[in-house]
């Protein structure tokens, strides 16, 4: 048991990096996921089906293909990569930011689904009631629809975070496996398995990632339990 908790500095680096990457990925993806989920749940517009398909694409594409597409688009010479580097000073290629981008893209479908379902389960007339009481559509969303959809949003965030924490295929394809920069827990486990005496170290990290996932799920359960409103 002592061995299990006896983490090396490299392990701690991978854990810290994973938590940072997954947190940033989840926070960055959340507003977009809310918007897309709300649009899919409530609005009818041309391209509704296309948007639905695109958001689910990372779920069905081989991760290595998603990573490759990211490399083409967000690599240093990629059209979007060049734009972000030149105008916003954000470089993705072979940086932890790239790992966060890959994790965000891969976890997006998992985030959207429960959020969309919970928006769909909110009575459409409730925002109408709010508007008849003087709230504009934005306020009606903020104080009626969003709070009522919050349990689903929480589930989406936790699922997205867990997925981001475990993302491997697209990340390693897009930003490689650089210690301290893009070597997250899964990449570190992969590297350890490649060495002849790395099994014990790999097991330590595997247990750590399982523990983080369990904590995340517990927190989401607790958050959901608070939203019962007298029922």
């Amino acid at each position: 048991m002592r061995d299990v908790l006896d983490l090396t500095p490299q392990d701690w680096t991978a854990i810290g990096l994973s938590v940072k990457v997954a947190t940033i990925a989840t926070l960055a993806a959340l507003p977009l996921a809310l918007l897309a989920a709300y649009a899919l749940a409530r609005w009818r517009f041309p391209g509704h089906g296309a948007l639905n398909a695109v958001t689910h694409l990372p779920l069905v594409l081989p991760p290595v293909v998603t990573g490759f597409v990211l490399l083409l688009l967000f690599g240093r010479r990629g059209p979007l990569g060049a734009f972000f580097a030149d105008y916003l000073g954000i470089v993705f290629a072979f940086r932890w930011t790239g790992a966060a981008l890959a994790a965000a893209v891969m976890s997006f479908p998992l985030m959207i689904r429960p959020i969309r379902l919970s928006f769909e389960s909110v009575d459409r007339r409730l925002p109408m009631a709010a508007r008849s009481l003087g709230a504009n559509p934005f306020w009606a969303f903020l104080v009626v629809e969003l709070p009522l959809a919050l349990p689903g949003v929480m589930v989406g965030v936790i699922l997205g975070f867990a997925k981001a924490l475990g993302e491997f295929g697209a990340t390693i394809t897009f930003v490689s496996n650089i210690p301290g920069e893009t070597r997250t827990i899964p990449a570190a486990i992969y590297s350890l398995i490649q060495t002849s005496d790395g099994d014990a170290a790999a097991m330590r990290l595997a247990i750590i990632s399982a523990a983080i996932a369990v904590i995340a799920l517990t927190v989401s359960e607790m958050l959901q339990r608070r939203a019962r409103y007298g029922t």
Partner: protein, 358 residues
């Protein structure tokens, strides 16, 4: 106050209507699917008409040809839903104050205390909506709409999902809202007794068209005749007073200028309103004592509406001036040989009077 001329079509349903009204309480009556709820949504801005205009208190809130559509949050039209539709994640207090929060300070004419007191919700303020009964929920819904200081209250079947005692309680509250807060009300209801009691003007809808407009006592029976099966919906309301409770038989004797009305229940002291369905009234040319009917009301025949159908409707003016409508077959009317102006007696079966509605 409100002037409207709109069309609206979705699928097989179409609504085409135009009217003007300055009533304190304007009611829309009709079967479900007749278009009255759609009209409520159009007025509140929860739906958009395909063409036409809506003018509320002199302000054009919808004019399709000029592209005017004032969004619901700027109309200041309070909406009361059939199922109250409270915000489930807010306690009663926050629900009630919701509209007030979004109302500009200068427009907050309705104060919290009187509303909470009038509607009897002060003991509910810290409860969750999910823990309220149907009647309590609807009272909170009324308070919520009222506290947004609306210039018009639209109520879409506010009593339809309540049981009779609760319905009466809410009717009383709506009367008090009408009288104490002086906000005009547009009431959608399929129940003619609600409209008889609350409204001073009624619109009757059938299949998306207005088929009658006027005082409820005129418009409702007039229109009900045109609707198949509508004879059961024709109700006359009479004001009476509890005169005596006959303990031996457990009945209440009501005093009315046209005659004594017997109700088969013990009622509380004071003035009451009796609803009598046209199908529960029989007509006689003489006062007869050899029937089981104990309630005989005297009056004059003022109108006979005979349709192409087998039915005829006789309107009586009772002693004291109130009107009572009786439904009979055209055959019976002809064989009795009644003429306008004749003295006539209405026989009302006591057991047909629903004491729960009194």
């Amino acid at each position: 106050m409100i002037a409207l001329d709109v069309t609206y079509a979705r699928g097989a349903f179409s609504l085409v209507c135009a009217f003007e009204s300055a009533a304190r309480v304007l009611a829309a009556h009709g079967a479900s699917g007749a278009g009255k709820s759609t009209l409520a949504n159009l007025i509140a801005g929860l739906a958009r008409p395909d063409s036409g205009k809506i003018i509320l208190g002199g302000e054009t809130i919808v004019d399709v040809s000029r592209g005017v559509f004032v969004p619901p949050e700027q109309r200041r039209v309070g909406f009361v839903f059939q199922d109250a539709l409270l915000f489930p994640h807010l306690k009663v207090r926050a629900n009630i104050l919701f509209g007030r929060f979004f109302t500009p300070k200068a427009e907050r004419r309705v104060a919290f205390e009187p509303v909470v007191e009038t509607l009897g919700v002060s003991h509910l303020l810290d409860r969750w909506p999910a823990t309220l009964s149907g009647g309590e929920r609807q009272r909170v819904g009324l308070a919520r709409a009222l506290l947004a200081s609306p210039r018009l209250l639209v109520m879409d079947e506010p009593m339809a999902s309540l049981d009779r005692p609760r319905r009466h309680e809410i009717m009383t509250l709506i009367e008090r809202m009408r009288d104490e807060f002086a906000i005009p009300i547009f009431l959608v209801s399929h129940a003619s007794e609600e409209i008889e009691r609350l409204a001073d003007e009624a619109l009757v809808f059938d299949q998306g068209r207005i088929i009658a407009q006027g005082a409820p006592s005129e418009a409702l029976p007039g229109a009900s005749r045109l609707i198949e099966g509508g004879r059961f919906a024709i109700v006359s309301g009479l004001a009476a007073k509890v005169a005596k409770i006959d303990e031996r038989y457990g009945v209440t004797r009501l005093a009315h200028p046209a005659g004594e009305i017997i109700v088969a229940a013990r009622l509380a002291e004071g003035p009451v309103r009796v609803s009598i369905r046209a199908t529960d009234v029989a007509l006689a040319k003489t006062r007869s004592t050899d029937t089981s009917v104990r309630t005989t009301l005297r009056g004059r025949l003022v109108k006979i509406d005979a349709t192409d159908s087998p039915l005829a409707f006789a309107t009586m003016e009772l002693v004291g001036g109130e009107r009572l409508i009786a439904a009979a077959t055209r055959l019976a009317m002809d064989e009795l040989g009644l003429k306008i102006g004749d003295e006539i007696f209405a026989l009302v079966k006591s057991v047909a009077l629903d004491e729960r509605e009194i």
